[in-house]
Symmetry: C2
Subunit: 263 residues, 2 copies
Amino acid sequence: MFDSGLGGLTVVRALRSALPDEDIVYLGDTARVPYGTKGPETVIRYALGCSRHLVARGVKAIVIACNTVSAVAPDHVRAALDVPVLGVIDPGARAAVAATSSGRVGILATAGTIASGAYPRAVATQSTRVEAIGQAAPLLVPLAEEGWLEGDVPRLAVERYLAPLADAGVDVVVLGCTHYPLFRDLIEREAQRMISPNVRIVDSARATADDVVAFLNDRGLRADPRPTGGSIRVCVTDRSGQFHAIASRFLGEAIEAPELVDL
Amino acid sequence: MFDSGLGGLTVVRALRSALPDEDIVYLGDTARVPYGTKGPETVIRYALGCSRHLVARGVKAIVIACNTVSAVAPDHVRAALDVPVLGVIDPGARAAVAATSSGRVGILATAGTIASGAYPRAVATQSTRVEAIGQAAPLLVPLAEEGWLEGDVPRLAVERYLAPLADAGVDVVVLGCTHYPLFRDLIEREAQRMISPNVRIVDSARATADDVVAFLNDRGLRADPRPTGGSIRVCVTDRSGQFHAIASRFLGEAIEAPELVDL
């Protein structure tokens, strides 16, 4: 699995829970984070670099944990490297389509993901009667990395980002960035107040884990059960002082010191 | 001149005003922005890449417009490349020492700049009777890039960042990141309320421009006056859709399309 930074550890967390026997190599491109504010050529170039590194480590499949990368790069990675590639957008779109009654789903994501139009396309392949309304919510990324998860600043930011979705009449809000699950309670509370008490929040991490389970079962690639379970190896491209605080906040379990790699 | 992104265009603006006849090549490493959250090894590696690119273009001197880079990389760039290098921290520290009466100056900067201890060191070389108190203010960078310059969110963030400086009894606040001048009025207003009506705000961009003038005069490197003035050439490593909005916000004048370079 790779991600622009450490946010994808929320997907590792879901994957560990669904697939406890798999060995997971996680590569966080912390030297070049964030990707969400950057253009597609740059994101594709970085995604290829990360994927080559993982293939060289002998992985059997690559999960792109980053929504921004999943929005623009999977086909390029599949074309360049002979490895199965799974992203987070199709599972998120599928879960959103399953959850909506009104046929209007809101997508909170980075500027790059929204600009790509990947969620509306993924929703359209699931159902012609569901419309996806995108809203870039870029400040939630630095707020999550700073640990400003509660209080007036994140609440006002969430309120500002939800307002256009409330106006558009959505009944589902997709957390379309791996950082946003850290604001899940806040987003749910504000969405219930601003949109409807019955609004549904979709976190694509769990839907992605289900997708990976199905993929490994289909291909007969599941690891055999082991008493100790699978391992997690975390690699980063920049070893900043905040790694442990951020990593444990996202992963929800203690973690070994990361390995530094140069792409 | 180079910077981690486009924030350094505030320094270009000051430099253009002080040195209208110089040709300026500005390299914004927008593909890897921000540097402020990253560790020193990564920042030094990126600074060397940017500097090599500028040297290959035949510049007579390099101005590091980024505080984070100026905090950790100038000596490494000077050692690796035979080119004069000027940073933004020494000028900012000098201006702060000149402005303080209480002998306590506050520094708002990125996490990387604060962790480096570069401002306290630079202040100490200017005066043994002045103490620098650092406060990381990382959220101001994404707020500036999103254009959230007014309203409750930036006000509450500024209030939170100024509180420890108010407690420490500073009478000067240094804007130790190229993005922060965009919040100058807000920071000044809040600092006057929280610290003292006589608090002084120091923006290192102007002090840096004065330093570059003195350096070029000393070396006899000033460009001859030209009726049309000098040129600005802006290069970026990622061409995101927001370039023009951000660039004109920081530079204060219209600008040609940037050249895309691959480092």
